[in-house]
């Protein structure tokens, strides 16, 4: 079923466009890499156009950029506090990269790089390692108290500490899996419904076509929400490391 060239899984296949091989390591320029480049270029050009002529009263493009900046800035400030504003550029970059990856992936015949778990896993593991390093460098060994909130009775602590440790180490898994599964499920659903349009033809095909239309709208919403959720959870994890309860 996955091997068919036009099955619902075909859209996730990697194509090596510029094969590169460095010492047995495959670093080919694939369609995934192309869409990552496009996402970076889209973000860059959006903010370049928006901030080219800066005015006191913002132009339309400038107000778009300001809106995004204030949205993410407010999220970091609300969830991490002023100490977290040092990490604002990272969170903002992360948000824009995932947002453009998700939204560009919704264009017909395009490729969604966030639907590959390896991409999300690298992003999530980077956040996980960074948060752990920040936590230990700011609090030293006191950071271990994250696993045992103050005021926990001893009998409860025996149950709570293993759960807290497990929930700490499951973070990169759930963070990457959430984005991956949302994108995968959404795109497979779209392609399966689109297949129904073809097989039902012109008459009854209008029913699945309406469904495709609705699901596409839903997917645009999901793309934005999942980028927001990824950045929000990064903020929450960062808050644990910086403020420690």
């Amino acid at each position: 079923m996955a091997a068919e060239s036009h099955g619902p899984m075909h859209q996730f296949e990697l194509q090596r466009w510029i094969p590169l091989d460095v010492g047995g390591l495959d670093i080919s320029y694939t369609n995934s890499a192309l869409f990552m480049t496009l996402a970076v270029l889209a973000t860059f050009s959006l903010f370049w156009v928006a901030t080219r002529h800066r005015t006191m009263v913002p132009s339309r493009w400038q107000s778009v950029a300001e809106l995004m900046y204030e949205f993410v800035g407010g999220m970091v400030k609300d969830n991490v506090g002023h100490a977290g504003m040092a990490y604002f550029p990272f969170i903002f970059t992360l948000f824009m990269f995932i947002l453009f990856g998700n939204v560009l992936g919704l264009l017909p015949y395009s490729f969604t790089f966030t639907s590959h778990i390896v991409v999300n896993a690298v992003l999530a593991l980077f956040i996980f390692v960074a948060v752990t390093i920040i936590g230990f460098s700011r609090h030293g060994l006191h950071y271990f108290s994250l696993f045992c909130p103050p005021g926990t009775p001893l009998p409860v602590a025996f149950v709570l500490v293993p759960i807290e440790i497990m929930s700490y180490f499951i973070r990169p898994v759930s963070l990457s899996l959430r984005l991956f599964a949302n994108m995968l499920a959404g795109h497979v659903l779209l392609k399966v419904l689109a297949g129904f349009v073809i097989s039902l033809g012109l008459g009854f095909g209008i029913v699945p076509f309406a469904a495709v239309f609705g699901v596409t709208l839903l997917e645009i919403m999901v793309a934005v929400i999942q980028a927001y959720v990824f950045a929000l959870l990064s903020c929450i994890y960062l808050n644990d490391a910086i403020n420690l309860h």
Binding site: M1, A2, M9, M75, D78, N79, S174, L177, R178, F180, A181, N182, L184, A185, I225, Y228, V229, L232, L233, I236
Partner: protein, 74 residues
């Protein structure tokens, strides 16, 4: 042939777990709506916890979905 059929049935059974996620996500948004209807001034403050609860409960459903996909495609 029988393993293939068992795989399909197993994937279907694994996807039952999505029900729980659906109920969870529904509960989160229903309670968000109720809270905002009671006190509209709290809307902005409640939005972040609502999205957080939505994301965390949705993840459990997606785990079930991923297990189903793994059974189906490996």
């Amino acid at each position: 042939m029988e393993t293939e059929a068992a795989k399909m049935i197993g994937a279907g059974l694994a996807a039952i777990g999505v029900i729980g996620g659906g109920v969870g996500v529904g509960t989160v948004w229903a309670n968000y709506m109720t809270a905002v209807a009671r006190n509209p001034a709290m809307e902005d403050k409640l939005r972040t916890p609502a999205f957080l609860g939505f994301a965390l409960s949705e993840a459990t459903a997606l785990f079930a979905l991923v297990i189903a996909l793994i059974i189906l495609f490996t």
